[in-house]
Symmetry: D4
Subunit: 160 residues, 8 copies
């Protein structure tokens, strides 16, 4: 059974979220990914979130742009942790997606990541950290991932 459920609000969000999907594969964490919109397929979204919760999914990742209601609406239907990724937008540069995703009213939390691809990558890493709370194996792999990043930076040579 998959543990992470990735939902994106529009097929065009796939470009941003692809990195998320690749990183999940790299970590060999079973996941599902689906396009469902809070505004265009509200009923399918509600049904899907409930079904996923019943199937025992451990974390949701919801990525959407503009008036990004997606993560908040997913969170409204579950007490499984929901991570929100604000998709970059043409005009307001993702400021609209960011404020819509992060400024949740008290009572229904969404864990907002940074705008765009950086946030998409961090969404997976954060999902893994959540799974790592009780899974020592994932914790170990996360530490190795960090070590790798550290190593990449340490070996950087600057041509002066």
């Amino acid at each position: 059974m998959h543990k992470v459920s990735v939902i994106m609000g529009s097929p065009s969000d796939l470009e941003t979220i692809q990195e998320t999907i690749n990183l999940l594969k790299e970590f060999k964490v079973p996941f599902a990914a689906k396009v469902l919109s809070a505004h265009r397929t509200p009923e399918e979204l509600t049904a899907y979130v409930k079904a996923e919760e019943k199937r025992g999914v451990k974390v949701f990742i919801a990525a959407a742009g503009m008036s990004a209601a997606l993560a908040g609406v997913v969170a409204a239907h579950t007490t499984v942790p929901v991570i929100g990724v604000p998709i970059e937008t043409k005009n307001l540069k993702g400021l609209d997606s960011l404020l819509s995703t992060v400024q949740m009213p008290p009572g229904v939390p969404v864990a907002c990541m940074s705008i765009g691809k950086a946030g998409a990558k961090n969404a997976v890493l954060f999902a893994l950290e959540i799974l790592g709370v009780t899974d020592g194996n994932i914790r170990k792999r996360l530490r190795r991932y960090r070590e790798n990043m550290r190593f990449q930076i340490r070996k950087t040579k600057i041509k002066l």
Copy 2:
């Protein structure tokens, strides 16, 4: 049967929306007003919007603050016109509510008004303009309302 359905996302929004309610009474347009949240009562909200549409409501007014998903979620469940009022907020001064309400993705429109009380009043006037498309009586009263405003401004005396 009521024609205008006012939904606000939180009991604290009532202060902003009270003016809307008073203006609706003044215009003697039958209406219903209810507190329902896209994040805290998603199912009641969906059921209510569908029931209202079935009862033949002609316009929705949805007022919410912060990550203001309300108007968009109402619009997701109906093709009855939805007017959104972004409620002012403590920190970002309603900029979050404004962007969440106005930046709807293509396909599901919300008619966004200005932030706070000005927007709440305009929401009713716009609802009346919609009803006025086929109701000559409402059109007449709207013109009289405008004449009154005009008269108020024209009679203003400035002490120099």
Copy 3:
């Protein structure tokens, strides 16, 4: 006689609004489209708005950029519903157009859509929703349009 009157503030806005025009044709709703500016042709604009109202137009759509006075000035001359589309701008990315269009003072409402092409499309859909209040046929077509959108999203396949 046409029912929807589209006004844009500058010939360069046509690129953004073209989608609106195409969608109106697709829905077979009779409409007129004209370039008239609140700043460069104020008198022609006033005369045109009044004439359109007399001809029985049911909804205005006004699209303009920068200090986007157009929608507000159209609304000042009529009690027919006015939908505003903030055109994207080179420097402030449409934030100027958005605030100029949406932040109407109390008394003269404008229904603001999202910035740019998304807003242009939603402007037509909202105009149709207004017409649909008393026209069951339009309501039916709007529902079919929504069904289509839903279907498009549901059939999206993600390559994992």
Copy 4:
């Protein structure tokens, strides 16, 4: 005959603009002040601007808040210089008024001052500078005003 014509969009703007009026008196420049709104009294505004131009007014000062179309609409009806004062607003702190006043499209200029009372005072000083282009007496008084300011600052003692 008065030379400066002050127009404000709402009676509530008087508080901000009062300083303008007092400074005009102090400089003994004949002026008129009137409340007229681009949105609530568009026709009276148009007629008034044209009449003022015919009466030989030399400068307009237009102060308005929110979607501040006033200065732009005044400028649309005259080639007499128009100075715009963006009034501070409750929610967006005058950012809406500022962008609506300053971001005029090419062809119809408005001279935008700073937000609120600072801008109101500067509007008069700028009007006087315009009159001073051909009036040596006003130029002299403006220089004296500057000297006074300079003197005020120079004599400031700081308690260390």
Copy 5:
């Protein structure tokens, strides 16, 4: 042993975070709370985060204002999930705290909540959701908490 570790960047943040602390007590989840600053006590902070991780803490909540480096620095030293709360600020109204907390570079995720007290409350609820991934009892209590919220909203009566 406590499961949630609350760190705030300044004693003045306590006012915002008090609600967090109260809610943790209400849920009877053992926790520790400490004032430690990324800028003023960087070494104590690093040592504390590592010690907390060793002690088996399951979630960090980090609340800070202005250039809010706290949550990011905590996240830099652990792979335990870190929830960030941007504290409201006097001048930029928390926009500085928000962007500093949410715009994390790829590789080191922080789960950002909304600005101020709303975010502080949601930080606890999100921490509980994380614990709830493997703790059915907490999940149950969270659902009851949601039910309560729902009930509060449903029983709201509006005086028309």
Copy 6:
């Protein structure tokens, strides 16, 4: 003798301001144009502004980007009207130039135009309006210019 004095803060601003220069030629108004920076050539700037005032220049146009001190510093040295043009910038899109130019403290006015090329064109038109206060010939040409703009817009045909 030239009547309009155009100063730009950097050679790279010429691209934006070229239109200004062309329009001044088109109107056959004698002018001078010079690159002088408030930050890099403060003394030359001061000396130049004073010399220009002595030579009887009637209006200054000052265009600068980023922390655009230019227009304000010019205004600090003269009571001749100063028109400011905020140059667009790479990162903050001219918002920095705009706020630096428009938010003048009370006492020293600058007439701020819109950001970039639109503002550059309007700067000339506004300079001409100032000259037109006492020059009937310029007024006439300005009206003709407006008529032309109006004509351009009126003859626009939209392909439906």
Copy 7:
């Protein structure tokens, strides 16, 4: 002879800068403080900056609000380090002062601190750090100051 020269653009800035002055006294660093405006006393400012440089002043601190040209203009007249403090403003909350102070064009640097009192305090600490580059005694006192801050934070007790 004093080593630090504090300049503020307006007597009203004293409230913000008072803390700076007190901290300088506490550190027993000789300093001068003066009100001089880039816009209202440009010549006195230029003369003063040059005289201060000749007197051997080691650091300037320049505090100003709105279109805060002060720090940049001081920097234009000296190669002595200039620290800028953006004063908080009524409408734009210091965002205008911040962008005017920090966004200096390449070639003339200003060291910008945070908005308001926090920045005023940091301006002194940064001035001391500059002096400390060659003054071991100041470096020692700065470290003691940091130790004190650290101690204050460490001893903070939170009532749970």
Copy 8:
């Protein structure tokens, strides 16, 4: 021994900071440059800053983007002056980097430069100004650099 220590948060920042490095060479000031991240290599960063301070480095330049904690974290570990350069970002255009770098809490100062390449160049010039406080030779070269800039601007010819 090198006097200036340049740290950048990511290899991709090199493009922005290259100009800094070149200018340091041009001024023949010994320096070191290194990639170290506050989030990805926190321990290496801390150790490096302390080692650099011990080696007698006189100024730090820290360049980072997004939630740019780098300059603040460097400043947290030293009382040597730290100059921060906010790197431009894809979505928020460097506004996130700017606010994260400049809005330091009271007690730990960072000298923030403008966003991007302009700021990178100014960082070096400001570092040189700090060194110039006690090094007459550097002061002389800085003045010559300014003279050169001035000369470049003065010789600019505009084609009218």
